[in-house]
Amino acid sequence: MKLEKLLLQNRTIILKRWLDSILESYSSDTKRFLKKQSDQFANPVGQTISKEIGNLFQELLEGVDPARLSPILDRIVRIRAVQDFSPSQAIFFVFQLKGVIRKELNKEIRENRLSDELAEFESRIDDMALIAFDVYMRCREKIYEISANQAKNQVSRLLQRAGLISEVPEWEPHQKETT
């Protein structure tokens, strides 16, 4: 597969451009911080995105394995799911890879007539977007679940302990049968 070789050769520049376009979703001050600060604890968002898009790219070259892609996507999407983004904005970064490849490798793709291979690779990106959507929903559902449980947990022990709750005992059905 010629395209794969081309992508590998241009890995660094593609990842750099991909990161740049992802960071465009943040304001200019934020973008500069996310890009520049290289300490992973001072800048977990920038460093995570930068590291994990490399892993995603590697995975895509090998195919689309949801079991492998999902945890990598999770590390990026989990962050964007709690930031000021709509669902589409949160996972748009997946599709941005298409534009980056087309722009960076435009000449080579045309000269080597790789458009069929490109279409195939782009469909892998589409598949990855679907997985990203599942991951996004999982994260959002988790937030709602945590919010719902929070209220419950805060006072449940108190109510239980104060004897204000009378739950059905586990052995009741058995008792009914015998009586």
């Binding site: 968002v45 930031q83 937030i143 919010s147 805060q154």
Partner: protein
């Protein structure tokens, strides 16, 4: 002199201060998941806070009083005269940007208005417009702007996105404390009835019943009695904590979260066990069902409200005639005690300088307030070899420690908790150094932001802390995040669930409860959570089977 950089080296320093331009022109959009609910009128009325009414931050009309602008500007003028620090903080910032990328909300969320410098600019821009010549004449060119309803909404949105953790202030070359700016900002907002439910309800409850949830004295005592039963089941030892006992030497006050919400409840069991252990050695301590809250959400409302709630603890100490106060594991409670109490309600002349009845140690740092943090008290006991401990009972835990913002940055409790942890457990791992001690990252839910409706905000604010926990989880297999703050114990379980579900949350005194070897105790098979101890899994399983068989027998009877 070899460490001093050469001029050409200095010239290479690549520093760009934040742009912070353009922000004035983009109006704020109040979002669900970030904004908290508004305070309910009944709670405001109960403590006499202004403008009680039903309102929602998501509505266009916030039902402000007609003269709101006058109230705010008068309020600001009055505070600039009262607090010299505020005037200085308004004037001296040079926008160097050292604080800009130090806030957990900015790091995790990316909203530039959460850069501390910009959050302060929200207030500073009005200060310039009203009180500086340059601002009056040159307006926006001098970083000044008019106070409008939109500005007020922006204040509300962002001053309730600051946990007053003070991490940014550690980096400010001028020592500007952005937390104090948030405190004043919230105080001004409260003058026109802008607040959040998760603060105003606890304030009203605390004022009325003595704790955030409004738990009445008998329920408070019931809870502790249940813990006593649990402890007896686990250790075989019956304990008898005393309540509201006049003439006791020491009054113990802890955040109500320890009494009513897991996992704080296990920390509370740890306190009960420690006090029982020390009783024979001369500890004379009482709990109070009236001063049943160590936390002080008044501090997130106004200085006056903080003072009123703080006074309740001292009034109870006076009523009971104790000599000094021992306080539980809490965060902002200690900031209030350590930095404000003396001028709020001090000097507490009717109390004595705290002295440990067990070791004789004088807590000179608490000479003014007469109140000692339990982690100092316990560290002192261990240092003097007064506690028999079996750290192996915490062997199922791989622990890391979160420095809670207020005890760490507000009063320098850095070594004591570590010293205690290392004595009660065998597996302790530090998080990366730029995330601990003075540089600790906030839990994301302090200063009244641990509500349920702002979960997105909490998850992004807690991201830098969670990221460091994740690191030690992956590197060392850490499965427990220890802390000495009740808000941490309420906030972290949610945060961990989202970012690293494999990690639990524990108070340091829960680990003490596990490790403490009590006189006459049976062989322990479980920890305070009734989970099998390391190596006791089979024994515990057999016990469970026995219990189940007994239940079956009873049913048949």
């Amino acid at each position: 002199m070899s460490d001093v950089p050469k001029p050409e080296e200095l010239a290479k320093v690549d520093h760009t201060s934040p742009l912070i331009t353009g922000w004035m022109n983009s109006p704020v959009e109040i979002k669900k998941g970030v904004a908290c609910y508004a305070g309910k009128p009944k709670n405001l009325e109960y403590v006499g806070l202004p403008n009680p009414r039903e309102w929602s931050p998501l509505d266009e009309d916030w039902k402000l009083p007609d003269n709101w602008k006058e109230i705010i500007l008068d309020g600001l003028r009055e505070r600039l005269e009262r607090f010299r620090s505020l005037k200085i903080f308004m004037d001296i910032c040079v926008r160097c940007g050292a604080c800009a990328d130090k806030c957990h909300f900015f790091i995790g969320g990316g909203d530039p208005r959460n850069m501390p410098v910009l959050r302060a600019e929200l207030l500073r821009s009005i200060y310039r417009r009203e009180y500086t010549t340059a601002g009056k004449i040159m307006g926006k060119f001098a970083g000044a702007r008019d106070l409008t309803v939109d500005v007020l909404k922006e204040w509300w949105y962002y001053f309730f996105q600051c946990t007053e953790c003070r991490r940014c202030s550690v980096f400010c070359p001028y020592g500007i404390d952005t937390a104090e700016i948030t405190i004043i900002g919230r105080e001004l907002l409260n003058l026109v009835g802008l607040n959040i439910d998760w603060i105003s309800a606890p304030v009203a409850n605390c004022y009325r019943t003595g704790n955030h949830l409004g738990i009445q004295p008998h329920a408070y005592k019931d809870m502790l009695d249940f813990f006593v039963d649990d402890i007896e089941e686990i250790t075989g030892v019956k304990m008898e904590p005393s309540f509201n006992r006049k003439g006791a030497e020491i009054l113990f006050i802890t955040p109500s979260g320890d009494v009513f919400a897991d996992p704080g409840t296990y920390t509370c069991m740890g306190y009960i066990m420690l006090f029982h252990y020390l009783q024979k050695m001369g500890l004379d301590i009482t709990w109070s069902t009236y001063a049943s809250e160590g936390g002080n959400f008044g501090y997130f409302t106004s200085h006056e409200m903080a003072k009123r709630l703080n006074a309740k603890m001292y009034a109870e100490a006076k009523r009971l005639g104790v000599k000094w106060i021992l306080g539980g594991e809490c965060g902002h409670m200690w900031r209030v005690i350590n930095q404000y109490m003396d001028t709020f309600n001090g000097p507490a002349d009717f109390l004595e300088e705290p002295v440990s009845p067990i070791t004789g140690t004088k807590f000179e740092n608490a000479k003014g307030t007469k109140m000692v943090h339990i982690i100092e008290f316990t560290a002192d006991l261990i240092k003097h070899n007064k506690l028999k401990l079996d750290p192996s009972r915490n062997d199922n835990l791989k622990v890391t420690f979160h420095d809670s913002c207020n005890p760490a940055r507000g009063m320098g409790l850095l070594e004591e908790p570590r010293y205690v942890i290392k004595n009660v457990c065998n597996n302790f791992y530090e998080m990366p150094e730029n995330t601990i001690r003075e540089l600790t990252f906030c839990c994301g839910g302090g200063a009244g932001l641990n509500a349920g409706e702002d979960m997105e905000l909490r998850m992004r604010g807690g991201l830098p802390r969670a990221n460091a926990v994740k690191h030690v989880h992956e590197k060392y297999g850490v499965n427990m995040l220890a802390c000495i703050c009740a808000i941490d114990r309420a906030v972290f379980p949610d945060l961990m669930q989202y970012w690293i579900p494999e990690v639990g949350v524990i108070g340091v005194h829960e680990m003490i409860g596990n490790a403490l070897i009590l006189e006459g105790e049976k062989e322990r098979t479980t920890d305070l959570r009734s989970e099998p101890l390391h190596g006791m899994e089979e024994v515990e399983e057999a016990e469970e089977v026995k219990k189940e068989e007994k239940v079956e027998e009873n049913k048949d009877v």
